[in-house]
Symmetry: C2
C-alpha cells in the first residue's frame, strides 16, 4: 500500500543569488501546499490521476507559479494557458492549449480526457467546451498579477519572448530576470493500486505571440504516462522538448532498452537535450514508486512526498 | 545518388466497393501529380525537406484531399487546418494548428520551422504570423467545396464528428460515408544527401468543435523525422495516434531495439494500435531509402517513386 507524489514548479536559473529568504519561504509554502493536496488524495485511497490534478490545481491557484492565476502575459496582454494530463493505466489523455479565463486548466484537461471524445482542444473552442461542462471560469482580473504585468511591460514593445524559467529571449538578447519568473508546474504520482499519472500546466512565455504552443500540453513531449514505464512532467525551453519528444523518449528508453527510471531520465535530460541546446528538467515516477528529479539547469522548484514518510522540498542544483 | 519519395492521401475504409472508375482515376492523377512534384525536387539535387513540402502542397491544392483547398468544414462551417513538417538532419520542426485562409498550411509549417523561433503556432496567431511572413492567403470561398459542404450539412445539427477517413463518429453512431471523404495527406522523403524529412497536412474531422487538434500537427504523434531512424507521416483516428505517440514510437523501436523500418511500423500500427482500437496507417522512409506503407484499415491512398525508376500508386489493402 505504498504511494508517491512528485511535483515541480519550474526549472531554470534558480540559484541562492536570486532568491531571498522571503521568496524561499513563499516557494517552500507553495510546494508544500501542493504536496499536501495531492498526498491527501493518495492517502484516502484516491487515484494517481486525481492526486496529480489536485496537486497541480493548488499551484495554479498560487500566483507565484506561472500557471492558472499566475500565468504570464502574452504580446497582446492576455493570459493564455496550456495544460495536459495522462492516465498511465489506460493511456487516456487530455490537453488544452491557449485557453483563457479557465481557473484550473489542469481540471479542463482532465474533463477533455474523460468527456470530450477528443484528446487535444485549443483556443476559444476549448473555452466553449469548458463552459458547456460547467468548468470554473474567472474574469481577466482574477489572472492579473502585478509582477507578471511589470515583467510583460518591460518587453511588450519588443519582439522578445521571455521564457518563464530564465532571462533569455528568442532573439538572443538578454532581458533582465527579476524574481518570480519561474514556474511551469507539474505533478506525477504512483497510487496504492500501482497506477501512475502525470500532468503539466503553464502560462507559457511572457510576451509570446502567434498562439505559440510549447511542450506542456503535447502528449509525449511535456507530459506522458504509461504504467509499463513511467509518468513524466517536463519544464524548460519548450521548443527543444517538442523536437526531442522528451517525455516519451524517457519511456521508450525504459521499455525498449530496459533502463531504470533514473538512467533514462539522465540520458534524455543531461545528454541528448544538452547536445541540442535545450535547458530544463523533468520529474518522473514509475509504477513501483521509484522517482526522480532531473534537470540540466541551475535549479528546479521541486518536491516529493511518499507513503514511507519521506518529504523533499528543494530548489537548487543537486 | 539514390532518393525516395513516399506519399499518402489518407487511410480508412477504402475498398473497391466504394470507388468507381472515375474516382480511381481522380486519385491516381492526384497522387501521381504529387509524386511528380516531389520527385522533381529530389532529381534536381533538392532536399528531402523541400520535396516533402512540394509533394504535400500539390495535394493541398487538389480538392479531392482533406487538406488545404479540400479541407472539411468545422461545426461552425469554417475550414480550419493543421500541418507539421520535420527535418531529420537536425530535428528542426514546425507545426500549425487551427489555421484559416492559408493556401498551403505545409508551407506555413515550414516557415514556422525556419523563421519563427518556435515549433508550434495555433489559431489566429498562426495566421497573423503567416501574413507577416508573406505566406499566400486565400479567401474563404477558395476553400469551398460542394461535396465537403454537403457532408457537413448532413451532420452539422448533430453532436457527431466525422472522421475524414471513415463514416464513424465519436458518439458511436454511424454516419453514412459517401465518397470523397478520405484524405489527410502526408509525405516522407530520403534525398541524395542521405537526409530524410516528413510532413503531414489535414483539414481534420468534419463538424469538429472546440478547436480540436488531431495528431497531424503534433511532432512525435502524426509527424516525425530523424536521420538516425526514420521519417514518418500518419493518417487515421488522430486521438489514438496522439495517445500512442505513434511516429516517435516507430523511431524508438528502431533506435533502441534495433528493429528494421518495416518491423517497427508493423508493431506500432498492426499490433499496439489495433489493441488500443485505433484505425489508420502511416508512410515511412529511412536514410538508406528503405520505405514502407503500413495500415490496419481497409485501404490507404498511397504512392512511391524512387531513383531506381520504381513507381507505386495504390489504394486498397495489400
Amino acid at each position: 500500500m505504498s504511494f508517491t507524489l512528485v511535483i515541480h514548479g519550474g526549472a531554470g536559473n534558480i540559484t541562492p543569488a536570486i532568491m531571498n529568504k522571503e521568496q524561499e519561504q513563499q516557494y517552500t509554502e507553495g510546494l508544500k501546499a501542493s504536496l499536501d493536496k495531492g498526498y491527501d488524495v493518495l492517502r484516502n485511497n484516491g487515484t494517481a490521476l486525481d492526486a496529480v490534478a489536485a496537486a497541480i490545481a493548488e499551484m495554479e491557484d498560487n500566483p507565484i507559479f506561472n500557471a492558472g492565476r499566475g500565468a504570464v502575459f502574452t504580446k497582446k496582454g492576455l493570459n493564455e494557458m496550456d495544460a495536459a494530463i495522462m492516465d498511465g493505466s489506460n493511456l487516456a489523455a487530455g490537453a488544452v492549449a491557449g485557453v483563457r479565463n479557465v481557473k484550473n486548466p489542469i481540471l479542463l484537461a482532465k474533463e477533455v480526457m474523460l468527456n470530450s471524445g477528443h484528446v487535444f482542444l485549443s483556443g476559444g473552442g476549448a473555452a466553449d467546451f469548458a463552459r458547456n461542462q460547467g468548468i470554473h471560469m474567472e474574469p481577466d482580473s482574477y489572472f492579473f498579477n502585478q509582477s507578471r504585468y511589470d515583467q510583460w511591460v518591460e518587453i511588450r514593445d519588443t519582439d522578445f519572448t521571455q521564457l518563464d524559467h530564465k532571462g533569455d529571449n528568442l532573439k538572443g538578447k538578454e532581458v533582465p530576470n527579476t524574481g518570480h519568473k519561474f514556474g511551469t508546474v507539474g505533478a506525477v504520482a504512483c497510487d496504492m493500486y500501482g497506477n501512475i499519472a502525470g500532468g503539466t500546466s503553464t502560462g507559457g512565455m511572457t510576451n509570446k505571440r502567434f498562439g505559440r504552443i510549447g511542450d506542456s500540453p503535447v502528449i509525449g513531449a511535456g507530459t506522458y504516462a504509461n504504467n509499463a514505464t513511467c509518468a513524466i512532467s517536463c519544464t524548460g525551453h519548450g521548443e527543444f522538448f517538442l523536437r526531442a519528444v522528451v517525455a516519451h523518449d524517457v519511456s521508450c528508453l525504459m521499455e525498449y532498452k530496459g533502463l531504470s527510471l533514473q538512467e533514462a531520465c539522465a540520458i534524455v535530460i543531461k545528454d541528448k537535450l544538452v547536445k541540442m541546446g535545450g535547458e530544463g528538467g523533468l520529474i518522473a515516477v514509475d509504477a513501483k514508486g521509484n522517482y526522480d528529479f532531473c534537470f540540466n539547469s541551475a535549479g528546479m522548484y521541486r518536491g516529493m512526498r511518499n507513503s514511507e514518510g519521506k518529504e523533499v522540498v528543494a530548489y537548487y542544483g543537486m
